[in-house]
Amino acid sequence: MAKHILSPLPGTFYRKPAPDTPNYKEVGDSVVVGDVLGLIEVMKSFNEVKADQAGKIVEFFADNEEPVMAGQPLVELA
């Protein structure tokens, strides 16, 4: 079964720490538990999305700056 990393909060998803920096992770990268995969901005406060499972990134379900709901899958790991 595919492993999904879910959004912990509702808000705006960002794949990078600042507009002029590279993405935290790309498809194909390996992640360990605790790695930062992106940020969720909720009411102007930024919260890190951390991997709660290890694996290799297969897909991002949300684009940079996309609105997301709490519990929505953000990343698929294999």
Partner: protein
């Protein structure tokens, strides 16, 4: 030229506030909104609503093209920018006027001058307004910096000329630190803002934040006295009042006169606020910056003066002279505003959007609650956490505090945490009741009083 149809380029409680002012003037309203705000109170109250894009503000509330298209499509003849978003964007003000519409705010050039920290300081000094002692503009080199810092006295703040929001600020306690920090600060400013220019300011310790409300019609300006906003968390105001509990009358007159002088020097039009640091030990005040917009805390000024600031903004920007003369602006009693935010005080003020399942709004004498909430409203996560502003007026500060406690106890927002418990604790605190605070007072207080706060 009178306004017939006003477009509100904002959201939340301030959009509701502007719609109310327009309705009382017989002006039709157009509310622009992102898709996340389709069910907002402002959209429900306005005569027309236009969807201008996705939730992300950069794609909707900051999208100048989409807002101007909405104005054209709806036949609006004026645009009110509210606060935040495009309110202090000089290019937006220019674009609105270039489209043949009234911008309910100052001319783009006044916004531009006041938005540049060094230019604002130069304009203030020229108008005879005291500024925080420091360099007159950018410092050219180390020797000049050393000379200025020694003359004004340590500690000094090293600030980026192109900076803002607290970034690029360093505090040097002595010449050695100054010499180490200058190259770091310059490099950081260069990287962050593309401009390594620095200026110096003396550190004013234990300062109070006092600001003066002004109104201008492009020729003449008046003040509507001051507000004190020293209770801040992370540089965000949480509690504002008018008048200041500590300002002596003679200083008040000088402070307010200095604000009028600067507003007239830039031919200011609309509502604006000049922010100062005030040292109550020495009774000295120092201009720090001007906000060229209506502010969140404007209702406390309305409560003590009886002047409707938003109405006045609409009238003066459509060409009318100020409706009041300075001698007719009087203050009466005391007003306090607290910000009710969707944040959990028990969880380090973590923002928490959600659905309002039940709502009881305070009422009764001297009580005003400016909000965009209604029962069933889903507070979106994409914008700031301000849900409403509870404002009370009474004949004295002591009575206003008691009224604030009474009104807070009447307020019930069910479905999401709010900052109500913070304000109840503050209103009961002996130092707050004595007005004995400064801008760095609240954060240590929060560390000690966290147990009094709940969701």
């Amino acid at each position: 030229m009178t306004v017939k149809k006003l477009l509100i380029a904002n959201r939340g409680e301030i959009a509701v506030r502007v719609i109310r002012a327009a309705q009382e003037l017989g002006i039709k309203t157009v509310q622009v909104h992102s898709i996340a705000d389709t069910d907002s109170l402002a959209v429900r109250m306005a005569d027309e609503a236009v969807n201008i894009g996705p939730p992300h503000a950069a794609k909707s509330y900051l999208n100048i093209g989409a807002i101007l298209d909405a104005a054209k499509q709806s036949g609006a003849d004026a645009v009110h920018p509210g606060y935040g978003f495009l309110a202090e964007n000089a290019n937006f003000a220019d674009a609105v006027e270039a489209a043949g519409l009234i911008f309910v705010g100052p001319k783009g050039d006044a916004i531009r001058t006041m938005g540049d920290k060094v230019a604002a300081r130069v304009a203030a000094l020229k108008a005879g307004v005291p500024c925080v002692p420091g360099s007159d503009g950018r410092v050219a080199n180390h020797d000049e910096a050393k000379k200025i810092a020694t003359a004004i006295g340590f500690p000094v703040m090293i600030k980026a000329a192109a900076g803002g929001g607290g970034r690029g600020i360093r505090i040097a306690q002595n010449v050695v630190e100054l010499e180490t920090m200058m190259p770091q600060a310059s490099a950081e400013a260069q990287a962050a803002f593309g401009d390594g220019g620095l200026y110096l300011e003396k550190v004013i310790e234990r300062a109070r934040h006092i600001e003066v409300q002004i109104l201008g019609d492009g020729k003449r300006a008046i003040h509507c006295f001051e507000r004190e906003c020293s209770l801040q968390r992370r540089r965000q105001k949480v509690w504002e009042e008018a008048p200041s509990p500590v300002l002596p009358q003679l200083i008040r007159e000088k402070l307010c006169a200095s604000a009028v002088a600067l507003a007239e020097a830039v031919n200011y039009r609309g509502a604006g606020t000049l922010e100062y640091l005030y040292d109550d030990q020495t009774q000295a005040f120092y201009f720090i910056e001007m906000n060229t917009r209506i502010q969140v805390e404007h209702p406390v000024t309305e409560m003590i003066t009886g002047i409707d600031l938003v109405r006045e903004m609409i009238l003066v920007t459509s060409g009318a002279p100020l409706s009041v003369a300075q001698k007719d602006v009087r203050m009466r009693g005391h007003a306090i505003e607290v910000r009710i935010n969707a944040e959990d005080p028990a969880k380090n003020f973590m923002p928490a959007p959600g659905t309002v399942t039940a709502l009881t709004v305070p009422g009764g004498p001297g009580t005003r609650f400016d909000t965009m909430l209604y029962q069933g409203y889903q507070v979106p996560p994409f914008y700031d956490s301000l849900l409403g502003k509870l404002v009370v007026w009474d004949t004295s500060r002591e009575a206003a505090m008691n009224r604030m406690i009474r009104a807070l106890n009447e307020l019930h927002v069910v479905g999401l945490p709010t900052t109500k418990s913070l304000h109840l604790a503050l209103a009961a605190d002996p130092e707050v009741r004595a007005g004995a605070f400064h801008t760095r007072w609240l954060e240590p207080w929060l560390e000690q009083n966290l147990h009094k706060l709940n969701s």
